[in-house]
Symmetry: D2
Subunit: 439 residues, 4 copies
Amino acid sequence: MTKKLKVATIGGGSSYTPELIEGFIKRYDEFPLTELWLVDIEAGKEKLEIVGNLAKRMIKKAGLDIRVELSLDREEALKEADFVTTQFRVGLLEARKKDERIPLKYDVIGQETNGPGGLFKGLRTIPVILDITRDMERLCPDAWLINFTNPAGMVTEAVLRYSNIEKVVGLCNVPIGIEMGVSKLLDVDHSRIRIDFAGLNHMVYGLNVFLDGENVTEHVVEKLTDPKQTSFVKNIEGIGYDPSFIRALGVLTCPYHNYYYKHRDMLEKQQKEADEQGTRAEVVSKLEKELFELYKDDTLDIKPPQLEERGGAYYSDAAVRLITSIYNDKRDIQPVNTRNNGAIASIPDDSAVEISSVITKDGPKPIAIGDLPVAVRGLVQQIKSFERLSAEAAVTGDVDLAVLALSINPLTPSDTVAREIVDEMMEAHKDHLPQFFNK
Amino acid sequence: MTKKLKVATIGGGSSYTPELIEGFIKRYDEFPLTELWLVDIEAGKEKLEIVGNLAKRMIKKAGLDIRVELSLDREEALKEADFVTTQFRVGLLEARKKDERIPLKYDVIGQETNGPGGLFKGLRTIPVILDITRDMERLCPDAWLINFTNPAGMVTEAVLRYSNIEKVVGLCNVPIGIEMGVSKLLDVDHSRIRIDFAGLNHMVYGLNVFLDGENVTEHVVEKLTDPKQTSFVKNIEGIGYDPSFIRALGVLTCPYHNYYYKHRDMLEKQQKEADEQGTRAEVVSKLEKELFELYKDDTLDIKPPQLEERGGAYYSDAAVRLITSIYNDKRDIQPVNTRNNGAIASIPDDSAVEISSVITKDGPKPIAIGDLPVAVRGLVQQIKSFERLSAEAAVTGDVDLAVLALSINPLTPSDTVAREIVDEMMEAHKDHLPQFFNK
Amino acid sequence: MTKKLKVATIGGGSSYTPELIEGFIKRYDEFPLTELWLVDIEAGKEKLEIVGNLAKRMIKKAGLDIRVELSLDREEALKEADFVTTQFRVGLLEARKKDERIPLKYDVIGQETNGPGGLFKGLRTIPVILDITRDMERLCPDAWLINFTNPAGMVTEAVLRYSNIEKVVGLCNVPIGIEMGVSKLLDVDHSRIRIDFAGLNHMVYGLNVFLDGENVTEHVVEKLTDPKQTSFVKNIEGIGYDPSFIRALGVLTCPYHNYYYKHRDMLEKQQKEADEQGTRAEVVSKLEKELFELYKDDTLDIKPPQLEERGGAYYSDAAVRLITSIYNDKRDIQPVNTRNNGAIASIPDDSAVEISSVITKDGPKPIAIGDLPVAVRGLVQQIKSFERLSAEAAVTGDVDLAVLALSINPLTPSDTVAREIVDEMMEAHKDHLPQFFNK
Amino acid sequence: MTKKLKVATIGGGSSYTPELIEGFIKRYDEFPLTELWLVDIEAGKEKLEIVGNLAKRMIKKAGLDIRVELSLDREEALKEADFVTTQFRVGLLEARKKDERIPLKYDVIGQETNGPGGLFKGLRTIPVILDITRDMERLCPDAWLINFTNPAGMVTEAVLRYSNIEKVVGLCNVPIGIEMGVSKLLDVDHSRIRIDFAGLNHMVYGLNVFLDGENVTEHVVEKLTDPKQTSFVKNIEGIGYDPSFIRALGVLTCPYHNYYYKHRDMLEKQQKEADEQGTRAEVVSKLEKELFELYKDDTLDIKPPQLEERGGAYYSDAAVRLITSIYNDKRDIQPVNTRNNGAIASIPDDSAVEISSVITKDGPKPIAIGDLPVAVRGLVQQIKSFERLSAEAAVTGDVDLAVLALSINPLTPSDTVAREIVDEMMEAHKDHLPQFFNK
């Protein structure tokens, strides 16, 4: 008889789910999943059905014995789960549209992680995730919570600080995307590259690059001074850094750094895009509709290639690789969001960082790096402060804290603009912010 | 016979000198100065004569037996000095005009401390100050170096990191200005107020306010939510913070914080002023000309009241109060720029911070505060990184570092704009940047 | 009408009380005490009467209008107190005799602070002090708790960690004793000496010595290589350190360091004394009896000089000096036991340290020293660990923790001896250790 | 043609060499060694010949194409080496006898690592190792230095602090011995056990034990309360800890902890052994003679089993496993002595610690643990201070520092005894301490 191995995926109706399914199929030998519960809320029922049925067809095609359950009952899904993955979106893409559109009215970048968009996504998401952790305490106290929901850094920070769950990891496909980009840059296979990552979610740096174990950081940095090379991830097009800047920085940036190191250009770009083709949420919304049309086709039994344009490249690989390594105590190195524990000196021990860690059955063990390079310490610290204050605002429902969090964000031009944006967004997202309105 | 007590003032021809003289006169009982050497360079000879003669008249009027020497020979001036004060300006106000005007062309605030102006002022000033410290090692190894030259934080950092001098203090009139402002706000005498200051130069926060020893911080913060109250120092007009922001921040800001927390407004304001009445350097330049006209009047034997409009309010008080406390081992608390030594957890031990310290004959001893509030840690860290990279660029003459320093500055919209500004300013200040051009 | 100024002294029947009274009389101008409540427990009633009446006579003689109340009702005494001082001894000198005698049976030094004696004194005392803090929360939430009860470091640690009281200071006469000793050594008045103290209670080091503000540490250290000079406090006779040791250490030790740096000699000395003249508790017991005989004399209206032999030299000065400085927001520097707050890098922020601090109305503000010298970091860390585990054992009543605390104490030769001592002492002090026996 | 892969072993004439050879043979597939240079000094020539010829026979028997060179020319041996291993013993076992015998005269444990013996072994060894690093800079700047010479922690500290070599790892067989002991205790195969190690060399703790990735620390700790179980390594017989102590400590100790936690018993034991069967050096000396007799037998072509009694169990495994992992960028977890880099909070970043690290081609990357448990922080700090002062004494030849280092060692009963031991040992080891005598 096979040993039960159960995964519950909160937000199972997401268009990303086929990625995850593909990952489970590919790594089935190492991770013999027996039950997969795709959970969603009433409003997402239709999507859940569509994507859930595709999931079933994919698994059937792969000839695997995995029971797939589509459910609106979170408690039943969580019961005795071994892993809980979260990929839900409170307020759906409609909310993201507002996250992106409203700030632009004030000439401020929206940004669904470390900008005003991220603040409000956090305010909507954190109470829900804390609710889930309370359920987990009762229903599956030994399970690991693998969070993909953005803003992943802020959410992990909130779980570490405000829940009783210790087994939590935040995951992002940005670092693996950088690795892929560097492999391409050096024209070598991905497996030969290792990068020491450290920083925060969507604010992570590649401190050292190794090719077959040899430190080739300087060589890679030099290659990056060719402006055509700086674009590592498809959905945020790099604009090209100044060679002096790249050389003196001496470490790899992630695509989201453009928002900070190229603030003015990115704002213009986003405004132009919003006018011409719609914001990212609007583009994605269209893509999603098309995807769900494809998913409905009951002859489809693989992940359709169009999904990769959605922005989740390497996502299945990162997610299932992490779960598999925990399950098998693999002790390989992966970049994840976890408790700092002294690994980065200038960040508190009990804060979440995104850092290369050894993945054991006992969870990720961050590798100590001493401290971040002088040049990047400030920005990282600033976003960590933004994350902490945002998480605190989400938990307390204190609007002053939300204004402060946004005011100290480097994308915000002033406290008064922060105030105006908070006021307008608070109103726009009213239905999903009970902690501020039903006090 | 009186014991020799010698002060050497580098940049003695400054229009500020009468402030300093007034301070020495006022505190003569505690600090029985016997020799004051006002030193300047050839180009400043005329001003030195004018202000030096006023100094002599002021001292004569006060009936004190202080020998005032006007000199172009720095070595002679430093010889056996007990205190060395520095208030020189490499490139004079002409250079400051460029520091302010050039960045504005790129829609960037100039700022003579923590912006592009500060970077270039640092690049011009640091080699000179390190030269002075090398002279001091030989000529007056026991003397204290009291630096008022801006950017005072960056300069103190550079002396701590790149010289062999340990007896250095950086001084600024901003904290004392905040104390005066709070006194006015509470309508009490200045002596009844004490504020715990911590942060960096022109980036200092008042963490706690005490009235007669009672902690009244919350009360003061509440009062500040009245927008008319936020202007503490005359030469940077506050624009009024949002009440939520003030309340959630919970600590006092300094006037220079406007550049960061009200970045957009300050840029507009500076552009408007530059167009209408000239940049600060241009205004000051005019003021200075008028001041020197006044100083020339050989019936004048007091500090003319017009000097206070120049921006140096409380300057003489801060400067001579510090010197007097060191000289007399007073052990009173003053905010100064000194080696951190663990007082602020998130700043390295060996970096300069601006912090309330006990002033002893052995120098300032910073009072441990634990760490800065979460909300301000990031910005402080960012400016510290800016200061450190700027100081390193000044010492090495590495233009890449200058570009990096400016790119990470929160006032800069992108690395490419940083590059452009650096290129244009490097050229404009060519004569004062030998380390970059004569390699 | 005079403003009420009330002090409550817990353990008011102590033979030390006349010291305290003398202090209040001497500093009355600065600290216009109106009510002094001497509180004790039923068992101490007789002593309380005797010493309390002496106190009244002393105050009458001084012609001061201070109401002295003798009370067995702690709650009434605490009500609206401005300062609470604690000098009680749970189990009286009888308990101390056991603290000293029992360990000696196992060839272990007793030591009423950082040895097995201190552990058990802590176990008896901490529950009582935490009880007092709970009363204070209700009855005088704004009062300062000034603790003299040994082990003062461990008690302060316990209050910081396990109570809701933040206004607590631990006080000891050892640092002032060292200052007096250094003054004598240099043959100068005490007021001209300042020493930077840092470490723990009875484990404090003088890092720098200043004479009129000049750093004379090296000179003092050199003088100390003369073995006759190392005895700073009367009741622990120094044995003479090796000159190489003194020179390489480079900082001043306190008398209690003999127990660690001269462990073998001190053990022999204590065994010899115990055999010949009795342990310290027994000697003190005799002294106390004589003192109380003296105190009974109703013509006595001053502190009898014999009290100084009791070991509390400079005690009144240290105690009332501290209280006066808090009351008047004096901002002078005093060595006290307070929250570390980053002042000593290798000790946690939230632990108690004994350190030179600026005394304000808002309490002591520790002066940042960076870190302790390499040579002393280990011993200090070890005693801090001992204090923390002992405090935790006192609060939890966990005997395993008591065994562990004693095992890691450098005075203990092995874990099995620790176990034996704990077993015997636990039994001997049974009546005063309800947390271990009435679980 | 095979790629050259060269190892130079300094102290190649050691009786341990067959261990190393066996290791290289066993892992040849992963580590295709082409040249092994066994280097020794003139005085060790005979031993080098004997053990070197055995090495050649062993390799021949294994049928491998490894060139073995026996050499007295260190420079030639180091030239272009890929790995340098050090296992030399300055002064041979004769010196170790003195290290053990002399302290015992003063009732002090000798101990060749963290006691007086270790101090003097360090004073003899450190100048030689620093000499080797200077050679390496010239002759094989890319090589890794793998040090087995005791005191391995102090030697690694010295290389990190006083050489220009960054590629250094200190290695010890104690952690692997603990893992073996725990495997036996749980009756499972070694490969299923992982332990988080942290601390210093011969002062290392097992913080967590995992069986198949599950944390079983509590279970193992409970098992250890059975006193028969505490002996993990053959050459230091455990005496049995008190169950309360074990439980409250909650982490695994190493055999050398007996010297500190059972100080009195160990002293008695060593004195008895010295009287009855000779000190460890004397026993080993006899063993070595027998071993070399065996080695001479030119029909012997395997590692003789008697070698394991010498105390080096698991040594070859630990050593070649480490080298292989670096060579192949294996990224497995091994406990080594390396730069702390923030992994243990209370130890400076730039100090050596013994800690579980990921072994990459770029060297060991320590896994961040936050901080050591409160109960062990002090002892670890104390030994670190001892190591640092000893290393400084070794480099400077300052006898005062040697006295201080020994005085603060927890095995030393007083500074005056420290002085006496230092004086006698300094004289005894005169020939190997030129830095103290030829100044």
